[in-house]
Every structure is written in structure tokens, then in C-alpha cells.
Amino acid sequence: MKRDEIPPGTLYLLILKTLSLHGSLHGYEMANSIQQSSDDVLQVEEGSLYPALQRMLIKGWVTAEWGVTLGNRRARYYRLTAEGRKQLARELSQFQRVFGAINRVIQTA
């Protein structure tokens, strides 16, 4: 199946949203979750999650902690912070504004 690349600038939004739904996830789960929630339409180049996560750690939107998976592997779990929640709201409203605008342009045409 052909998948679409994630539109530029929306990766943070997707990560933040995913984390807000699931509470605490490691990278692999995040990638899977995004892919499944999009009904396999969006393709995350999985590795690109990690630079984004590093940046989000720096910004203080997420925190990370080592934990153990069900299959008994060590994995790093990410969790939203209060600041992360605020950022999610900001990103969402910005996305909706832009998306709505694009939508209006398309429909008038």
C-alpha cells in the first residue's frame, strides 16, 4: 500500500496528540500508533521521531524515563508534561486554523 509522507511541521502535533491519548509510550509504540490511527495512510520514517523527541525534551514538552516493556525489554517511555499539553493546544489550534483556511480555498475553487 502506498503511504503518504507526514506533512511538514505536523510531526510534533502527531507525537503530542498520540502521547496525550496513550499517556506513556516508547518510540516504537509511537510510530505504530501514528500509523494505525491514520489507517496506515501516514508513513512515519520511524527514525525521524528521535531527533524530534530530543528537541521536545529540550523544550520541556515531554519527559523520558526508562521502563520495561510487556516483552520484558528495556525501553524509554515518553510522557507529556504540563508544558507539553499547552503546546498541544497551541499546535492544534494553529493546525485547525491553517487546515480550515486551506479547506476554504479549495472549496471556493
Binding site: 516508547h26 518510540g27 516504537y28 520514517e45 520511524e46 527514525g47 530530543q54
Partner: protein, 908 residues
């Protein structure tokens, strides 16, 4: 929030390894989980591995991107560059040493001179809001005229009090005595007298400045509101440390000055040196105690005792113009309102013209500043030029090296390094050089500052001036260093990266014709030569000025004369007391009789020790108000001690007593210009001072040759000499003409003085020669330093020429080889190279000459006995510069001529 983020970044930096490790582990886990998933779906392990890797992406680049997210990659890059830079510095140690040395000298010299400029001229007083302080000053010189009419230069204590009460523009006003007293006093419990610098100040002085005492208290208005009953002093921190060994019980100690015992009530803060830069008092005494300080001045209640400097602190919001207007209205009111004001027509005319100017005194005021402002600015300019030469040199060296590294850089560029990356690398290298050079420079400056302070002080007593390193200074050095790095780094860096890749890769040494390719290097050499010429001519001018000054005919013989001061005030006997007069004569006679002594005499002034001047009124002439005569009170042996020839009449003798006819000996030009023509001045009378009062009447009994009085470069002065018994006044400087060993004579002389009165303090023992030398301290300073910097400039330029030429010869080795192979003579080859150098130097000189002529205008008034356009200095400098430059170029030329054609060609 931003702070949190910064903290997280810093934590990342310090735990970098751990973060890297964590990231690697989680990426590995991720891939393995994905791989497992594919295997579970039925793929083979290999296929699963490939698929997982593909969907994950390039691990190395992800790691790189993640790392960059921390924002520290620049640091990593920098460290890399620095490591690389250090390695490449070690690869060419000669170049590195030369570069560091020139930088250290350049930056060190700049820092040292700047630290003086800062201390003398720029730094604010360590007091509260120094920018609000103003100093009352007149339109005339600092030293006022103390005749009985208003002077706007110095003020009386009653004037200060009235100004304090009546003004509407100052939050407070303070007065300080305008001149220093070096008083000999005794710390209670000790035997020996010690010399102390005493500063008399009004009680408002410390409160107005906002200076508080770390120990005890400072003076207050209470200490100054009635005369004679406040025997208290505040001592300086430095003096407390030095003379009282930082005694914690300092407040229980007393100092005896004259007949009065003073209580120490406080120690001033360590940074407070008073309000006069370069002149730090040891103790501050309230003005009310003026009469108790030797020599017992009586100015506290005298309306016209003009000896005060007045300063005020402007109220917030008051403009200088408002303050000036208010002060000038009050000035007229107060002066005219004094009951003993002499409102004669002449005085009123003077008064009408008087105008008080308010000078800002945020940086204090200073004799030193007037004396050294010009030399220091000049030296700053000189050192800046030297630094510029050093920069040009380093630029040249780096340019040569980066051209030599063209191949390396080309390879790196071909391998995909971005140009900006390589420029950054090269800039890092020059910054590194600059920083190390700057550091060495600061070290050098610390040392140079001490040397300079000694040179400026011009004698054994070092001027109390704080020239230690401070933040401002380090900031200055830092700026200079960075500017230097950018200046000498950026051009070679840009040039070096602008290579034609194919050329450079084909031939490690770039294209064959090196000379045509380095116009920048040549331009730098030309600039260096031009600047060197400017500095050399400047140095010549100043050195010749110094020589001229030393050749000046002073009118007296400065050699073999010992001079010293005795403080006769400690005896408590008044100077007009016959006992005092005869004590001085006794000392003279006793010393006269010593073996090895030819003659000895007291005087109130020897050369360059200040003056006492008044106008005079010669009978039969109209007095000229603009003519001042300098008076010198002398002992009978003065002229033979100084070896000033008597031209007519007689010198003073025992017959000139306090009761006999008052007499004077006048200088040659005074006789010629101030006496009516065709009248023999001998036997003629005149009045010293403007008013024809009988006690000022003197008869001329002799004429002596003109002498220099205050400085070597002054015009002819009018001087008259008065005998001590008739004018007992501020006397106590002794000159002794001797033969033989100075130390032995000095001991004998001091023993003889103590034989008359063993309590007499003796100080400032030196020679007249030293005294003369001290008077030209700043000319000597400028001459020595400009000579040093001139030579340094030439030396640096020679290094530059040598470096460039060696480099060019190296690049042209095979061309030269071919020339020799086809029959060029060695002399031909040498000339070929020399021609290049001579041309460059000639162009440099051609540019330098007009610049020098223009520049010499700036220094014209600092010269003596020659003009800025002095041909001798110019020609000598041009010839000298040409010679050394050609010599610097000759060595590479000789090497070129020795090239073995076979080796040179095989090299290709």
C-alpha cells in the same frame, strides 16, 4: 521557561555521553522490535532486518540530527577547530613564535598605555555619583593671584562659606586647600619625625563626596565650624597600612603636627585617594585647624586668602548653565560684599571681567593629566600603529602559510567541506593566535605598567597611581585581541579558500608565478614600510627634541650639585626670627667649610620647583600688568654655588641685614627690558608687588646672567633675587657644589646640618642634575618609548619583508633554476629578487613621506628646537629604513642565487 530550557541544554552537554548512549539503545530497541514484528509476520530474518532498517532510516544521520537538537554542535566544532589549530601551530613553530611575539608586544604595549590613559584620564573618582561634581575654576591658570582683589581661580575660606549658604544650585559645596603640605610630624609614642602629605579640607568634603570610613568616621561640618578646636584627622588607608602597620587600634592613636596633638578619628576607604589623580594625601585635616599645621597659615577667617579650590555637587535637575549663572551672580555679590574689599577702579575693572567656569570633575582633577594628556594620547596612537604592523605581519605570514596549504585546503573542499567551514577553521586559528598573544600581552602589560609608572614618576618617589589591571582594561584588551584576530585572519582565510581547485590539486605549490599572485602580501609590506617610516621619523623628532633640551643653556651649571630639603618649621621658630635667619647662615657656613665642598647656599627655589611671582613697579616707568617677575630668596653663596655669572655690581654679603636698605639682584633681561633705557639699573629702585609700599622698595645692587627657572623650554624669564634676612620666607632648599663622591658628601652635609639642630628633618636628597632631568620626564618618556616602538615597528616590518621574500623565493625555485640553467649569473638572480624588495620599500617610503609630513603637524608643539618637517630626521629615517629593509631582503635573495639548477629542476 527559557532558563529551564537552558538548564536542560547544559545538563545535556555534561551528560552527553549518557544521552548519546540512551539514544543509541532506544533506536536499537526500536529496530529490533520492528524486525521481530516482520519475522512474526513471516519474513525471513534477513529480509526482516533489511526492511526494518529501511523503514527506520540512516542511524548515523539521525544521531547527528538528534545531537544538533541540543544546540551544542558549534562547541564540538569549535573544540575540533581549536585542536586542529593548535596542531597546525606546532607544525610551523618559527612562524608561531614570531606571530605570538609580535602580537604580545603589540597588544601588551596597547594595554599598558591604555591603562595609564585610563588611570590618568578616564576613570571616575571612587565617590558617589561623580558626574554631579563640578569644580570652580576661573579663566586663568590654576594658580591665582593673591593681591587684594577678586580672583576667579582660587578662593578664600570665607568665600566658600558664603557660597555654601547662598547658592541655590548645589546640594553641597566643599573646599580643599589648593596646595600640598609635606609636613613632618610624629606618631605618638615614636621618636622619629615622619613626612606626611597633609590635605586641608572643609568639613563638608567627605559628606559631599559621599565617602564613608570603614574604620571610625570621616570629617563632618562639626569638625570645621570654629577655628582651632578640632584637632582631628582622617588617615588614608594606604598610610594606615604603611605607617601604622594596619593597627586595628588606630582610633586610639595620635599624631603630633607642629605643636598640636591630633586624634585619628577614622581611616578612609582603600579605593579613595582624594580628588586629585596621582596625588594621594596621607592625612586629611579640617580647615579649622589650618593654624596648627606648619607653617601655620592664617586663612580661616581671611576674606582674601585665596588658596582654596571649591567644588560642588549639582542638585538633581540643575543644568550646568543654570549653576554657572547662579555661581557668577553670587561671586560678584560675595567678593564686593566683603568689608575689606578693595573696590578701587582697577580692581572693579578686574572684577567685572572675572568669570567663574564650572568644570565637570567626575574624573577628578590633576596636574598629571595636564602634563601627560598629550604624550599619552600620542603614545596610544603610536602603539596602535605598532599593533597594526604586527597585524599586517601576521596576516602576511598566515597568507603565505595558507597559500602553502592550498593543496590541503583544496583537498578538503573537493571532499565536500563547505567554504564557510574552512574559513571558520582558519579564523579559529587566528583567534587562537590572538588569544594566546593577548594573554602574553596582558602579562607583558603588567610588567610594562610598573616600568612606565617609574618612568612617569621620574624619580625615586613613585606617583600613587592605580594602574593595576581592572575589568575595563581587560575588556579593552579583549576587544583589541578580537579585532586583531579578525583583522589579520579574515583576509587570508577568504583568500585561501578562493583557490581554483584544479590548479591547486595539480600542483601542490599552486601556479608557478608566485610573485604576480600576491598583491595583497605586497600591499601589506608597503603599508608596513609606510607606517614604520612615520614611527621612525616621529621617534627621531622626539629623540632630537630630548637632545636639544639637554643642550639648552640653563645659565647655571647643573653638574656636581647636591640638593636637599630641610623642614625648619619643626623648630617652631618663625622664619623672620633672627635665630632662624642665623641658623640658616650657620648651616651654610658649616657646610662651606667641609672638605670637598666648594660652596653651599639655601634658596627658596632651585630649578623647576615652582615660583613666587608678582608684578613690579620700576621708578620712572609705567608698570605693565602683564609682566610678572619671579622672585627667589637666596643665601649669600647662591651665585657661586650655581655658578651664575655676575655681570655688574655685587652679590649679597653680611652687610645686607634685615635692618639695612632692602636690596635686590636682577637678571640680565630684566635689567634690559624693565628698566628705562640709558639708565644704569644699579642703584635704581623698584617695588616688588603692584602697590608702592615702602616695605616693598628695593635697590638694585647687581645684575646676573639669565637662567632657566621653571623649565628647559621656557622663554626668557624675569627673575630677581632677594637676600633671606630681608625677606625671610619659605626657605629650606639647600644646594651644595661639591667635588668627589656624592654619597660621602651627602653624609657629611647631613651630619653638619644635624650638628646645628639634630631635630631638623632632611628629605629629597638628590642632585641638581636629577632635578633638571625630572623636569623633562615626559619628553624623555615620549622619546624613549617612541624610539622603542619605532625600532619595534622597523623590526616587525623587516620580519615581514624577510618572510614574504623567503616565501616568494621558495615558490620561484624552479623558475630560478631554469634561469640559472640557461645561463643567468648569480648576480643577475640576486638582482632579480632584490629589485622586488627595493621596489616595495620605495613605494612604501613614497607613501610614508607625505603621511609623515602631515602627521608631524600634530606633534609640532611637543617638539623643541626643531620643526615637524625636519629634513634631517626625515632623510635619516628614509636611509635607515631602506638599509635595514634591503638587508632583510638580501638574505632570501642570496639563498635564491645559490639555487642548484639540477635540484630545482628535478624538484619539478
Amino acid at each position: 521557561m527559557i532558563l529551564d530550557e537552558a538548564l536542560r541544554r547544559i545538563r545535556m552537554l555534561f551528560q552527553g555521553r549518557k544521552f548519546q548512549h540512551d539514544l543509541d539503545e532506544e533506536m536499537r530497541t526500536h529496530k529490533e522490535l520492528r524486525e521481530q514484528e516482520y519475522v512474526d509476520r513471516g519474513l525471513s530474518r534477513d529480509a526482516a532486518h533489511t526492511a526494518a532498517s529501511r523503514s527506520f532510516g540512516n542511524t548515523a544521520s539521525i544521531r547527528e540530527t538528534s545531537f544538533r537538537a541540543w544546540g551544542w554542535s558549534w562547541l564540538e566544532g569549535l573544540l575540533q577547530d581549536v585542536r586542529y589549530g593548535v596542531r597546525s601551530m606546532f607544525r610551523s613553530p618559527a612562524l608561531t613564535i614570531v606571530a605570538l611575539l609580535s602580537l604580545a608586544l603589540g597588544i601588551g604595549a596597547n594595554t599598558a598605555i591604555f591603562s595609564f590613559l585610563d588611570a590618568v584620564m578616564l576613570r571616575s573618582l571612587p565617590v558617589k555619583n561623580p558626574s554631579q561634581l563640578v569644580l570652580f575654576f576661573g579663566d586663568e591658570l590654576e594658580y591665582g593671584v593673591t593681591d587684594r582683589y577678586g580672583s576667579a581661580t582660587l578662593y578664600s575660606y570665607p568665600f566658600f562659606r558664603q557660597m555654601q549658604q547662598k547658592n541655590a544650585v548645589f546640594s553641597d559645596v566643599a573646599a580643599m586647600f589648593s596646595f600640598w603640605q609635606n609636613v613632618h610630624g610624629t606618631v605618638e609614642g615614636r621618636d622619629a619625625m615622619e613626612e606626611m602629605k597633609v590635605q586641608l579640607v572643609s568639613g563638608t568634603y567627605f559628606p559631599m563626596l559621599g565617602v564613608q570610613a570603614p574604620i571610625g568616621r570621616t570629617l563632618t561640618d562639626e569638625d570645621d565650624n570654629s577655628e582651632g578646636d578640632h584637632p582631628v584627622v582622617v588617615v588614608s588607608y594606604a598610610w594606615w597600612k604603611r605607617a601604622l602597620a594596619s593597627d586595628p587600634a588606630v582610633l586610639n592613636r595620635k599624631i603630633k603636627l607642629g605643636k598640636t596633638m591630633f586624634n585619628i578619628i577614622g581611616v578612609a576607604p582603600p579605593e579613595f585617594f582624594g580628588t586629585k589623580v596621582g596625588d594621594a594625601p596621607d592625612i586629611w585635616v579640617p580647615m579649622s585647624m589650618m593654624r596648627s599645621i606648619p607653617p601655620e597659615m592664617k586663612g580661616y577667617k581671611d576674606d582674601f586668602y585665596q588658596a582654596m579650590l571649591i567644588m560642588g555637587r549639582l542638585k538633581p535637575g540643575v543644568s550646568p548653565a543654570q549653576a554657572t549663572a547662579n555661581v557668577n551672580v553670587l561671586y560678584q555679590q560675595i567678593i564686593r560684599g566683603f568689608s575689606d574689599a578693595d573696590l578701587s577702579q582697577r580692581n572693579v575693572a578686574h572684577l567685572d571681567k572675572a568669570h567663574v567656569t564650572l568644570l565637570p570633575m567626575a574624573t577628578g582633577f590633576s596636574q598629571l593629566r595636564r602634563q601627560f594628556s598629550e604624550p599619552l594620547h600620542l603614545l596610544m596612537g603610536i602603539t596602535a600603529l605598532v599593533l597594526l604592523i604586527a597585524c599586517a605581519n601576521i596576516a602576511n605570514l598566515l597568507l603565505a602559510r595558507s597559500t602553502a596549504r592550498a593543496r590541503e585546503l583544496a583537498v578538503r573542499q573537493a571532499l565536500g567541506a563547505r567554504r564557510i567551514r574552512i574559513v571558520r577553521q582558519l579564523l579559529t586559528e587566528s583567534l587562537l593566535l590572538a588569544f594566546i598573544g593577548g594573554l602574553l600581552g596582558v602579562g607583558l602589560a603588567v610588567f610594562a605598567d610598573r616600568l612606565l609608572l617609574r618612568m612617569i614618576s621620574g624619580g625615586a618617589d613613585v606617583i600613587p597611581l592605580d594602574v593595576s589591571l581592572n575589568t575595563r582594561l581587560l575588556l579593552f584588551t579583549f576587544t583589541v585581541t578580537v579585532a586583531t584576530a579578525v583583522l589579520f585572519g579574515i583576509i587570508p582565510a577568504l583568500r585561501a579558500t578562493r583557490v581554483e581547485l584544479t590548479d591547486a590539486l595539480k600542483d601542490g605549490r599552486g601556479s608557478s608565478n608566485g610573485t604576480a599572485r600576491s598583491p595583497l602580501g605586497k600591499a601589506l609590506i608597503v603599508t608596513q614600510v609606510a607606517i614604520s617610516l612615520v614611527l621612525m621619523v616621529g621617534a627621531m623628532l622626539f629623540v632630537r627634541t630630548l637632545v636639544n633640551l639637554n643642550k639648552v643653556d640653563m645659565g647655571f651649571d647643573r653638574e656636581n650639585v647636591l640638593r636637599l630639603d630641610i623642614d625648619s618649621t619643626v623648630t617652631g621658630i618663625k622664619s623672620d626670627d633672627p635665630r632662624m635667619i642665623s641658623m640658616f647662615q650657620q648651616i651654610e657656613q658649616r657646610i662651606d667649610a667641609l672638605p670637598g665642598v666648594k660652596s653651599a647656599s639655601f634658596a627658596s627655589f632651585f630649578f623647576n620647583e615652582g615660583s613666587w611671582n608678582t608684578r613690579i613697579r620700576v621708578q620712572g616707568t609705567t608698570p605693565d600688568e602683564n609682566v610678572n617677575v619671579k622672585h627667589n630668596v637666596i643665601g649669600n653663596g647662591y651665585f657661586s654655588t650655581m655658578q651664575i655669572p655676575l655681570l655688574a655690581g655685587r652679590t649679597f654679603g653680611p652687610q645686607d641685614t634685615s635692618t639695612s636698605q632692602h636690596v635686590a639682584i636682577i637678571s640680565e633681561s630684566m635689567a634690559k627690558n624693565l628698566f628705562p633705557a640709558r639708565i644704569n639699573p644699579i642703584g635704581h629702585h623698584y617695588y616688588t608687588g603692584f602697590d608702592p609700599k615702602p616695605e616693598n622698595d628695593v635697590e638694585v645692587i647687581g645684575i646676573v646672567k639669565d637662567v632657566k627657572f621653571g623649565s628647559l623650554d621656557e622663554d626668557q624669564q624675569y627673575v630677581d633675587y632677594l637676600p633671606n634676612p630681608q625677606h625671610p620666607w619659605g626657605y629650606g632648599r639647600l644646594a651644595v657644589r661639591y667635588d668627589g663622591n656624592f654619597a660621602a658628601i651627602s653624609n657629611e652635609v647631613q651630619r653638619a646640618i644635624h650638628g646645628i639642630d639634630r631635630t631638623l628633618p632632611i628629605s629629597h636628597v638628590s642632585t641638581l642634575d636629577d632635578q633638571v632631568a625630572r623636569s623633562i620626564t615626559n619628553q624623555r618618556l615620549v622619546a624613549q618609548l617612541s624610539a622603542f616602538f619605532g625600532l619595534l615597528a622597523v623590526f616587525l616590518s623587516c620580519i615581514g619583508i624577510y618572510g614574504l621574500m623567503s616565501y616568494m623565493v621558495g615558490r620561484r625555485t624552479n623558475e630560478i633554476g631554469i634561469r640559472i640553467a640557461i645561463g643567468a649569473s648569480r648576480a643577475n638572480v640576486r638582482w632579480l629578487v632584490m629589485r622586488e624588495i627595493i621596489l616595495l620599500v620605495a613605494v612604501g617610503i613614497a607613501i610614508g613621506v607625505p603621511v609623515t609630513l602631515l602627521g608631524s603637524r600634530v606633534v609640532t608643539n611637543m617638539l623643541f628646537g626643531l620643526k615637524g618637517t625636519d629634513a634631517v630626521s626625515l632623510v635619516a629615517s628614509v636611509v635607515g629604513l631602506l638599509l635595514v629593509a634591503v638587508l632583510a631582503g638580501y638574505l632570501p635573495a642570496r639563498r635564491a642565487a645559490r639555487v642548484d639548477p639540477v635540484i630545482a629542476l628535478r624538484y619539478e
